[in-house]
Amino acid sequence: MKKKKHRRPARPAPVQPAPPPPQGPPSGVKLDSPIAIYSGGFGVREAERLLWRAGFGPSPGHAQVLASMGLHAAVAALTRPSGAPTLTGADPTDEDGNPIAPADFWGHDHLWFLDRMVRTDQPLVERMTLVWHDWFATSNDSVGQQQLMLDQNELFRRHALGSFDQLVHDVTQDPAMIVWLNLDQNSRWSPNENYARELMELFTLGADRGAYTEQDVRQLARALTGFEFDWSDELGMHNFRYVEASHDPDDKTVFGQTGAWTWEQGVAMCVRHPMHPSFFVQKLWSYFIPTPPTQADRQALEALYVSSGYQVRPVLEAILLHPDLHAGSRMVKPPVVLLAGLLRALQRSVDGEYWIWYSENAGQRLFYPPDVSGWDDSRWLDTSTVRGRFELVSRALSGRVLDGDAVDGYDTTETPEQAVAAARAWAGDPALTSETVALLTSFAADALAGAGGWQLSTYRGLRQNALRHLILASPDYQTS
């Protein structure tokens, strides 16, 4: 992992207007779920968590808006957005204010996706796009053509809340995926089983569950033959297509069924495999709730998934309504989710390439997952990435801190309690545990120990900057 410092002198950071809150059906809507629905109070704190789990945290005021809708309408506002998403505020730029070039400039792909997370009024659509990017993890490290990665990302966005069946079908003929898992090299004359294996192992069925055999991998690879593309200096990889003549037309035996399976039939057989629904439900659930579903809940969701015709939205709605999300354990925010949420909360725009390095140091560079199994959600936090997260906050605060007269002329009567309250309010009043509030208050008192003269105002100004930073870097804020 590269470690680069990118510290420019701070300049005032402009305030980005907040996007409108998620809009869905009118309040009063009742969603259906075959499993338990959270029945406790749904206030600002619950809405705040929902926005972090199913989006990128609240922009100022959004948690209040969602709380006033009630649980069902708040979930529906996320899962049933109407019309095309809109992006509010300034378009992303590099440090010099030039527009980004997502397809052409190194790292601008990352800025492009990050910007959508920050500015969209349909946060769950972007969050599911991120989920699919992890689920069908494809890296530009070997694809090497950013436009293909962006096209794949748009595919994930189109299918964000739709049919998984259709998603897998379309991913299979997606150019970035074709390059990433070598489908173009899988011809009737020399089958390459890379895609066939990962389609079953990582995308639809899971390894070592008895769902498929090595023979199935090879036979499915034959069904998936026929994809090709052209290459030229001018266009790079282009003209991705399916060529009948390169497809193996003979019989293949997959999961015990023999036929002259086409690639579409082969993909559909994976989704219709009896062990696919359990794989799907468990994996989708794990993106939103850190504790596994009960067996009864899982089976109910599997039945819902199958009866819906392999639709994502019904299962997702049931997960987002479930008590384990609203009243269960906290969950570590993925690094880009944290970053997008910081920018939302602080109303900042994506205004420089530095966010590429900062994201990478925090452990997540979009379009470059570590391997085909995606990012490891159990290992987001260690002593390297916590420092990376601390510095994400540093950079987000840069240009927003008190300085000059605001520090040197700071109110000399502010108590530690008042200082903590002011910093919490400034940071958008994120949920903090009582232990954290106590430690912050203790720091606020200690920060002035022994101070006298000019220090009484200046140190209070520095203390305020420090408290804002500590709140956003705290363990509480790393989780939701």
Binding site: E201, P292, S394, H469
Partner: protein, 455 residues
Amino acid sequence: MPSCGCNDYSRTQLLRRAAAEAGRGLPAIEPGMPMPAGTGLTRRSFVSRATGLALSVYGAASLGPKAFEEGIAAAAAQASSERVLVSIFLSGGADSLTMLAPTSAHPQYAAARPTLALPGGQGIPFAEDSSLRWHPSLAGLAELYGEGKVSVMPAIGYDDANQSHFTSRHYWEVGEVNPFGRWGWLGRYLDEHGVADNPLQGLALGWDLQPVLAARDVPVATVAEPDNYGFWTPGVWGTVQDKMLDAFGDLGDPPTSDVGLSQARSAVAATGRLRDQLAPFQGGYTTPAGVTYPAGDFATRLSALAAMLDGGLPLKVVAIESGGYDTHSNQAGSLPADLLEIGDSLRAFQRDLEARLLQDRVLVHVWSEFGRRPEENGSGTDHGAAGAGFVIGSQARGEMVGEFPGLATLDEDDNLRNSSDFRGVYCALLEQWLGVDAGPIIPNASSFARPALVA
């Protein structure tokens, strides 16, 4: 392969519960994907003041930095004669038929590899089997082989090889063909023969714990970039900054039963401690005159390892991963460069150890989760079964382990058959190099033949 179809989730739930009970969060795994060994271990950062090393310590949750410091000091007092085993994992499934390319004595080779076969006449002769050649990019390794310092396993693996990266590497990591294994084979060695308070006894060089080292009872550690650990605090300086950074680490201290918060607090607490303690370690390493490592992380880690051993650090088992071997396509474009880096780095490491007079204390074991299929797929190769392995060092016996089984008869999946079993090699390394009984460490140890690996 056990069928989990009867109760798909029992294992997942069991492991998630175990992780939760350890208070360390809930690893997300796919149904059926083996949980990497060591998942759920506590992880804390710690700097040994005596050695100046920044460590992430896994396990031994009840011990504090002071105990580790004493443990390291006690172990260091006797470290100068202890033997060290270095496990090097070539992840992705390295193509053994490139590393040791068959000659025309195996006519199936050129047929199976119309575009990827090493042309006849190229390559470096392999003394023990004239039907094989070292790939020219492995000249560094071939040079050590010529000096009798490399034992070659031309076809190592296990029967009914699993062709999933994630599953097969897991088997190699836990030292048994068992997706349920939770502890690395070297971790089990440390559980049996290590000490409770020396995290350096099992050291991963890199960003993450290597699962081979995952131990149930004793601490192990990782070291990565200890000389770059500053914290930027815009708008805060002086004593307020010092107190702020102390306070940041303190935010990780309160105990909590919430798994997500517990994960975040532990990591923040560890980060705070590490920041405090990193000051002594800013100098970097000196490499002896005449020893030149190639560029890259892999070589940098080996050079650091040689310096750490020379510094008397009490290491017993060390693990390093180097990736990029999953060559489904463009194999000719990427593999030679990767092999060149590995071969040259391993030669430089050996020369470094020799310059420091440490060469008789260190044995290196190189492995990959599987080899690749003899028949190429166009521009690359798919997952195979048996692959190549190496044991390197001045004390290596330098004698081939198992013969090259040839390409005329392949296994039922058209992959190379194995002529040695990785578990037998593990048993031999434990018994012949580390001097311990393999029985308690490798399941069914008595059923595996031990190759002679040590001089």
